[in-house]
Symmetry: C2
Subunit: 343 residues, 2 copies
């Protein structure tokens, strides 16, 4: 079944390009320094000879596989798909690839990280809240750089890159206040996730400064899913109509979609006239005409660039960052789910 | 930076489990046959000793990396995200992982496939319409099994697994006719993709049998994106109101969302009263309350199982399938964008 035709080797490429064999190997290693014109000459010769280097074999000497593991906890949330896409594009542009790990509900941190380590990856990007602590510990024990994306672990010094969620929660509170919100409600996410906790904290703290007592803010957990948020929204409105909230913060966009859909379809609530809604993340669907959701945009490109930089993939040796916590500010994206200020 | 503590080796695991070293290696190879209780004893010993096998090193002798490349052309279409998630889950359950390749608009088939081949993957799943022919040729030239997912290449004998798109297009035509459709329109996808062509063919053929002439079906290309479909929908309705279509088939769901949103928001068209709409794929968003889209569900789980079986990952040697074209039937999912038959 396999063709047995002789394949070009790195010697052939070196001869055609007129360079040393080690220059050929450097030309294919993202972390190697080599003159741009030498690299171009090598790549050109490789193309002509249909030569493909074996990164797996060369990883045994370079100790680099040029593979980065990305662990995605929630493929149903478009924000993480967007992040995965951005990480994949950025790594590909560097000559590296993503080895994808998705987490099942019942996955054990040890099992997943044991699998990650089997592939001798150059680094790990962890986007899941669940299991973060144990996974991160195992990766660091093994000397494999890891960066937490869009979360951190309280009391742990693993490197993390995230949106400034406290600040973002404050932006939403401020916008809802300016638009005339009076009876506030929140749909929170995964209770154990720092992302949800911080957005809630920023929101509640900002409202408190404006005189809204925390105990006056209605709250329900939507578990960071569309369906969970729909159920949470109905629970929040299960009270006399005069007590219905008029300003709802869903701590992520996917939950805002679920809440908006069920409140309009089941209770006939007009948005933004009877209820103002805001989300967080700025997923592509937030811009769709059915929603036109006011939200906080996470600076995904900048976050991904920071996260990959912290893995030090280009350095001569592995280097593990400690005690780094990069919180990048998000910005408010005003669409149609809030009334115009003063309107 | 790296801990220098001595790591357990496969010898240590063999000693603790009371098995040979080769049994340890077989226990970690998905394609090896080994008694279930022996495997369990080895995995238990490995856990106790915190042993992690080096799949990269062992791939040089087994010629298996346990890595399957998945090439995704369109991460903005939730159907392909769903397929990627399903492929990832299935491979993980077998002890394998996905190496993810995303295609930029300007990617060259040769460059992408050259990168895939560098990682010595055990197989390739190609979900992109663009570049299929050249990519597939290169993979087969190198003896790497490849399977086309949800597409085929006319005149080429590469293995493919897809939904029966002609049949599915017919299901939609039949449902729209039964619901009283009279003035038909289509929003088509990527013009070069067999997926779009086949759905259109099934739709048009079925309508012709019911007496609707192909030239009476209005048509616009939505390029398989939400935004493209919104523009296409406006173009289809840029005619006197009495000539507006009353039955619209969007050849995939992501385009149906774009069309529904713009027609309701911009032209105030009531769905399904003034316009019936149907899609194809059954992406998660099709079930959302804003859309409740009638569509054809692709049998994703069965398609993924077939596709992975065709890669023969468990066989003793690589085996390349030729001239296999598995077309699995989809089924109609009736929601709220069609009027009840006879209603």
């Amino acid at each position: 079944m396999m063709k047995s035709r002789r394949r070009a080797t790195s010697f052939d490429v070196a001869a055609l390009a007129g360079v040393s064999q080690s220059a050929v190997s450097r030309a294919f290693s993202p972390q190697s320094s080599i003159a741009a014109d030498t690299r171009a000459r090598v790549l050109d010769a490789a193309r002509k000879l249909d030569y493909v280097p074996n990164r797996i074999a060369s990883s045994l000497t370079t100790r680099r596989t040029n593979i980065v593991a990305v662990i995605v906890g929630d493929m149903a949330n478009p924000f993480y798909v967007q992040a995965l896409h951005c990480i994949g594009r950025s790594l590909q542009a560097q000559g590296r690839q993503v080895l994808l790990f998705t987490l099942d509900r019942d996955a054990s941190a040890d099992d997943v990280m044991r699998r990650v380590l089997q592939y001798q990856v150059d680094g790990v990007v962890l986007t899941s809240a669940r299991l973060s602590m144990r996974m991160t510990g195992r990766s660091l024990d093994r000397g494999v750089p890891i960066v937490l994306f869009n979360r951190y672990i309280p009391g742990h010094d693993a490197a993390c890159v995230r949106c400034d969620n406290v600040h973002g929660g404050g932006l939403i509170a401020s916008a809802l206040l300016a638009a005339g919100g009076r009876r506030f409600a929140m749909i929170t996410g995964d209770p154990g996730a720092t992302t949800s906790q911080d957005r809630v904290r920023g929101f509640v703290t900002h409202l408190a400064q404006a005189g809204v007592a925390p105990e006056d803010i209605a709250e329900a957990c939507g578990h960071s899913t569309y369906e969970g948020a729909a159920a949470a929204a109905l629970a929040l409105f299960d009270r006399p109509r005069r007590d219905w909230p008029d300003a709802l913060f869903c701590i992520n966009d996917i939950m805002a979609l679920g809440a908006m859909d069920v409140l309009r379809a089941r209770l006939g609530i007009a948005i933004p006239d009877a209820l103002q809604v805001a989300g967080f993340d700025d997923i592509p669907q937030a811009a769709h005409l059915s929603y036109r959701l006011t939200t906080v945009a996470q600076p995904v490109d900048a976050m991904v660039a920071e996260a990959l930089a912290l893995l030090h993939l280009d350095g001569p040796a592995r280097h593990i960052e400690r005690a780094i916590d990069r919180a990048l500010p998000g910005h408010l994206v005003v669409r149609a789910t809030l009334r115009p200020p003063g309107g």
